[in-house]
């Protein structure tokens, strides 16, 4: 952009517009969701910026085109691929999010938890908007929320359901707190008390008494089966568990397979990607079948009263395929049930037509479970709320 030299500016400017929109398409192919607005903003800015400086252009396009940490990390590579073919590697290392050093390197493993975070491999070719993806499962989500999660092969639909399941857990908290208690700066007016207080000043309600939700939440103990047979559902259930652990303060979470591990702290981790890596790091060390009875025994003996009390609702998320003897499982379950308030068994298999628990050798155990609930779709998780309220 040389002042006083307007003639060559026009074609150059035009070609810049074309180049930038090609770049936007390049990014869209890589899973970025960009509209025309972003392209226009970029052009508008480049018109007044110094386009000869690569770093300036790269930095400003990063700010304009990235939406989350995952895109931020991939952007420098994509930028260099397009604008500087042949010079890919020299990334500005300082502004790419580092792989978590705790896990030693970035892994994009296709393990059981792959896609737990927002880094689903995005083969999202259509650029249809999903802004304001509804929470309640309304509209076109309805079909998805009751479909079996194992059949959701579309990456975006699956991601949306994962989000919903977590949101569900978070909303549960609000539902559980519908009772109100007086509080100095609560958000609702406590009418009865306000009226009573107003009597002293001729019925003039000068002093508003307020109330806010009462804090009396259930204690949850979540036992998540992460064995092979559960692989299709562990993403869904893990996100749900994460939502519960992060919103209900007294929740404890364990995963089991052939042994039991306490993972409450891991689920408190705020970054999904780190959470996924830590979970995978923990679970990929195990082999073999599922030993539910053995795991529950470890829970009873190792943690016992520490995590199970009279207010605890125990939720076991498993398909019930156990290599231990059914009788052992029944015994451990009865020990848990005696100590806790309620034992719920959430079984993805129970959502399938014609499923009979007896066949799976679960029958003796079920005598010690309050409810067996399906857990194969978002709707079935939503139904769980009814089981938890009122305690």
């Amino acid at each position: 952009m040389i002042p006083g030299d307007p003639a060559p500016q026009q074609p150059r400017h035009l070609s810049a517009a074309v180049r930038v929109s090609h770049f936007v398409r390049h990014l869209r192919e890589a899973g970025f969701r960009l509209g025309v607005g972003e392209t226009l903003d970029a052009l508008h800015w480049l018109e007044q910026g110094d386009v000869t400086d690569v770093n300036l252009v790269r930095n400003s396009m990063a700010a304009l085109f990235c939406r989350n940490r995952d895109e931020w990390g991939r952007f420098p590579m994509l930028f260099d691929q397009f604008w500087l073919p042949g010079h890919e590697p020299p990334l500005a290392a300082e502004n790419t999010p580092k792989a978590d050093p705790r896990m030693g390197g970035t892994v994009r493993a296709a393990g059981a938890f792959a896609g737990l975070g927002h880094s689903v491999d995005k083969d999202l070719s259509d650029s249809e908007e999903t802004e304001g993806a509804a929470l309640g499962g309304a509209g076109r989500n309805a079909a998805l929320t009751h479909s079996d999660f194992r059949f959701l092969t579309d990456a975006r639909a699956a991601e949306q359901m994962l989000r919903l399941s977590e949101q569900l857990a978070r909303n549960l908290r609000k539902r559980l707190q519908r009772r109100y208690a007086r509080s100095a700066n609560g958000s609702r007016i406590h009418f009865r008390r306000t009226l009573r207080r107003s009597l002293a000043v001729e019925g003039l309600a000068l002093n508003l008494i307020r109330q806010r939700p009462r804090r009396r939440l259930p204690r949850l103990l979540l036992l998540l089966d992460v064995s092979h047979s559960m692989a299709q559902y562990s993403r869904l259930l893990a996100r749900f568990t994460r939502g519960l652990v992060q919103t209900l303060p007294d929740t404890e979470a364990f995963v089991f397979h052939t042994e039991l591990h306490r993972v409450t702290e891991i689920f408190r981790e705020s970054d999904l990607e780190t959470l996924r890596l830590r979970l995978e790091g923990m679970t990929q060390l195990w082999f073999g079948g599922t030993r539910i009875a053995e795991s529950l025994k470890a829970l009873n003996e190792g943690y016992g009263a520490q995590v199970i009390g009279g207010r605890t609702i125990v939720m076991i998320m498993s398909d019930g395929f156990d290599t231990d003897a059914p009788q052992e499982l029944a015994e451990e379950l009865s020990r848990i049930r005696r100590r806790s308030r309620r034992v719920l068994w959430m079984n993805p298999m129970a959502g399938r037509a014609g499923y009979q628990p007896d066949a799976a050798g679960l029958a003796p155990a079920l005598a010690h479970v309050d409810r067996m609930l399906p857990a194969h779709s978002v709707d079935s998780l939503a139904a769980l709320a009814d089981e938890l309220t009122g305690f």
Partner: protein
């Protein structure tokens, strides 16, 4: 016409004067944000200086910093506006008792006089555009996020009784997020994005030397070297830049001029850097000794 590069260099310089060391990408994002009038969404671990960006920008622009701290259950009445209800009632009563005919009309009861302005409304009614910091937006509920979207795109607030209040000036909006939950795509689309990482060794040395000018360079190198190694370890809460500054101040107060051979002092002041019990008990003398040994210099 001032070129983008010049603007960015100038901003970097002016930020440095306020004590904030900004690298190229941060400065670019800040310039873009002002040029395009879009909010800036900052993400990154706790303690990388997200909030500091906003206060430094406010100083550079010589304007007010208004802060809205988000939390679960944040609602319109504590973020935007609320009617001063007791004041309204009292005024009506006083009016009645004074016996004058002209009673307070409805228009007057719901006038600006009785309006309590909360940060969002306050920010859009300043004559000089302030820096509006919406901190930890991921903690607020989804409903509030949707509402925020409306305010951030139109810069106007509708109050049913009073009508629409338009922005006198467009505030410079900075949102920060720790990733407690996923923000909606709609909000992300409205914003420019920047991911803040922990500073590099050179940057961090520059930062602490800017903040604590009489700090010896070799001590600064040792401190930063140690903290950076510590950050690489398996910790629940990794120390941020603020912790480095705290620790440096503590060491200065103790009159230490080299941490290399002073294992006792390091151990006793470690609580400046590690803020959870697990991290403190997990970092024993042997580990600290190993890390100190690994610090180059």
């Amino acid at each position: 016409m001032v070129h983008g590069l010049g603007l960015i260099a100038e901003l970097q310089q002016r930020l440095a004067v306020t004590g904030y060391v900004a690298d190229g990408p941060v400065a670019t994002a800040l310039v873009l944000m002002q040029k395009l009038g879009r909010p800036l969404l900052l993400e990154g671990d706790a303690g990388v200086g997200k909030t500091a960006v906003a206060s430094a920008l406010a100083q550079v622009l010589d304007t007010r910093l208004m802060r809205l701290q988000c939390y679960e259950g944040l609602d319109v009445s504590s973020a935007v506006y609320e009617w001063n209800y007791p004041h309204q009632l009292l005024s009506i009563r006083l009016q009645e008792q004074s016996g004058r005919d002209e009673s307070l009309g409805e228009a007057e009861i719901f006038s600006e006089r009785f309006l309590l302005r909360r940060p969002l409304l306050d920010a859009i009614s300043q004559s000089q555009a302030p820096v509006l910091l919406i901190d930890e937006v991921d903690r607020a509920d989804e409903e509030f996020e949707a509402f925020l979207l409306e305010v951030l795109s139109d810069f106007q607030v509708s109050i049913p009784e009073l009508g629409t209040i338009r922005a006198v000036s467009r505030p410079h909006v900075i949102l920060t997020s720790n990733g407690t939950r996923d923000l909606s795509d709609a909000l992300r689309r409205r914003c420019l994005y920047h991911y803040l990482n922990y500073p590099s060794v050179a940057q961090e040395i520059q930062i602490i030397r800017t903040r604590i000018p009489d700090l010896d360079l070799s001590l600064a190198r040792q401190i930063v070297g140690f903290v950076q190694l510590l950050r690489g370890g398996d910790l629940r809460k990794r120390p941020g830049v603020a912790e480095t500054l705290d620790w440096t101040a503590a060491l200065m107060a103790l009159g230490v001029d080299s941490v290399k051979d002073d294992l006792d002092t390091v151990m006793s002041s470690l609580s400046c850097l590690l803020k959870t019990r697990e991290d403190l008990s997990g970092t024993d003398r042997a580990t600290v000794k190993r890390l100190l040994g690994a610090v180059s210099l």
